[in-house]
Amino acid sequence: MGNVIELQHVEKVYPGAVDTQVLFDVNLGFQEGSFNSIVGQSGSGKSTLLNIIGTLDQPTRGEVFIDGARTTAMNRDGLAGLRNRTIGFVFQFHYLLPEFTAVENVLMPYLIGKREPPEAVRQRADKLFEMMGIAAVKNNLSTRMSGGQQQRTAIARALVNNPKVVLADEPTGNLDTENSNMIYSIFRDINKQYSTTFIIVTHDRRIAEQADRIVEIRDGRLVLDITR
């Protein structure tokens, strides 16, 4: 399978009184359907890299291709559409909209892209709730759920549009071991069932080692790239 994500000579410099370069000539590709982790110490540039892959941030130099599209040539609306169709985000914090119920939150990416979700999409959302083990609370406001339930709802939301890529930034950072293990096993299931590409940023080596490929970043440079 080809690369769903391709980074070519990507550099990122934050301008200021003294310019800070956080990424140096990163060349990296991710195969469709692969399960990857990016590890590195805090401040190593791994979250910046993930934001650039997710088109939330733009590289100062270099090119990013997502699903064949050259993102550096796209405008804000074009990028928004690409993110909506192709990428699911899971962050350390769940970022659910507190004004909406769990199921409304999960359907939100679909509503952003299109109109009222058809029955098939609702069924998909229900299936995701089942997979996550939170079907019983799907009509709760997101504020009336436990931390683990909220994060699982956020994962269901990332998956509802059947994205090609899921980008997860420390997705279990706020969770206990039991919840963490459960979420990784869900990620694995989705990866196998739908061939969804996973890129998980973590500083926890134990979690990273469960991935098929580990990319390590140190001081903005790729220092290790192991595929098992």
Binding site: N51, L56, D77, A80, F89, Y95, L97, E99, P109, L111
Partner: protein, 384 residues
């Protein structure tokens, strides 16, 4: 529509804040409606009492006081223009009536009753008796009759400056609301007055009302262009009442300023509340942007919030304003139930105010909407 749905949820989640701002808008708009209706009614009262029951355009002879020849064709041509509301011709002249040993000066005015009634409202002002019917009947004003102490059917002797006399029978008594008119006008049939003053078929004036009193000057100008000539002159009330007009203009300007300041305060209040809302909801907007909501859809959330606040606030405000106005008229009424002013519920003004309030509230959402455009999802995500 997703933006509208999110806007509604945002407003619903900050219920106290939403209720406070809606109350603020409602109070401001209610004052605007109250002040606007009050000043509008005052103006209408003033205009009605000054020119309401009188012609707004008058054509008279520019050559000699007593004659407009060929008035039928003049009236027909003015009628064809279809810019006047009512037209009446009049034959008038000065005379005297005798009260015991003294003579009282009067103006004897001849009209065709139906035509003049549409201008002067004789029927409504007749407080005793009936309209004149035969050629020898006349109506006498309240103040004049207080001096003459006549009764219905009494005879009234009119003496012309030339010394000749005519006798009319009193058919009724009127009160046109203006003492000087009530004291001086004796109103009779057009033909009788033409005969008394030996005018033949001529009249002394053609009098008109127009649908909008404030356009009397432009209507007069149009009539001038259509039928004007050297032998007639056309006056309109605006030319003759410059002082009243400037007073009305002043009143209208002050009313407009008050209303503009109120709308401005509504805009500032909504804009500031929504600007705070952008900060409060920056996390939600950030994640919506990360999930791919387009900038325009994200910013329209705040425009919709402005629209919703404006719609609800202004409708409440209008209801409250109408209530205030109604209450004002009820509580300031005289013991006999007569209102201080004649309430005039100007629907056009109310509708315009509502439209302006809603449009202004929606515009007030623009500033926070622009602010939301600059919101970068990374900043939100980084802050956690």
């Amino acid at each position: 529509m997703l933006s509208l749905k999110i806007a509604l949820r945002f407003l619903g989640s900050g219920r106290t804040q939403t209720l406070l701002i809606i109350s603020g808008i409602a109070i401001a708009i209610s004052i605007q409606i109250f002040v606007g209706l009050l000043i509008g009614s005052l103006q209408k009262d003033l205009v009605d009492s000054t020119i309401g029951n009188s012609p707004q355009i008058t054509i008279s002879s520019s050559e000699d006081v007593a004659s407009i020849r060929g008035w039928e064709s003049l009236v027909a041509r003015i009628d064809e223009l279809k810019i006047t509301e009512a037209i009446a011709v009049s034959a008038s002249g000065t005379a005297f009536v005798r009260d015991g040993t003294t003579s009282l000066p009067i103006i004897l005015r001849g009209f065709r009753y139906e035509n003049a009634d549409r201008i002067y409202g004789f029927s409504e002002s007749l407080y005793q008796g009936r309209p004149y019917q035969s050629g020898k009947e006349a109506l006498v004003g309240r103040e004049l009759n207080e001096e003459l102490e006549l009764g219905i059917g009494d005879r009234l002797t009119i003496t012309l400056p030339s010394g000749e006399s005519s006798t009319l029978t009193v058919a009724g008594f009127y009160d046109l609301g203006t003492a000087s008119i009530n004291r001086s006008w004796v109103i009779a049939n057009l033909q009788s007055v033409q005969n008394i003053f030996e005018l033949g078929d001529r009249v002394t004036s053609i009098e008109m009302t127009v649908p909008d009193v404030f356009t009397a000057d432009t209507v007069a100008h149009t009539i001038e262009q259509a039928v004007g000539g050297d032998n007639i002159k056309i006056d309109n009330w605006k030319e003759l009442n410059a002082d009243l007009l400037s007073a009305l203009d002043g009143q209208r300007t002050s009313s407009t300023i008050i209303q503009a300041v109120i709308i401005l305060s509504v805009v500032i209040a909504i804009a500031s509340v929504l600007a705070i809302s952008v900060l409060q909801k920056s996390r939600q907007i950030g994640i919506l942007k990360a999930m791919g909501i387009r900038d325009r859809a994200a910013s329209s959330i705040f425009i919709f919030q402005g629209l919703i606040l404006g719609l609800i606030g202004s409708l409440l405000g209008i209801t409250l304003g109408l209530g205030l106005f109604y209450g004002f008229n009820t509580f300031t009424a005289d013991p006999d139930g007569t209102a201080l002013i004649t309430p005039y519920f100007d629907r056009g003004f109310i509708f315009r105010s509502w439209l302006i309030a809603v449009a202004a509230s929606t515009l007030a959402g623009l500033l926070p909407a622009r602010k939301s455009l600059r919101l970068n999802p990374i900043e939100v995500i980084r802050e956690g």
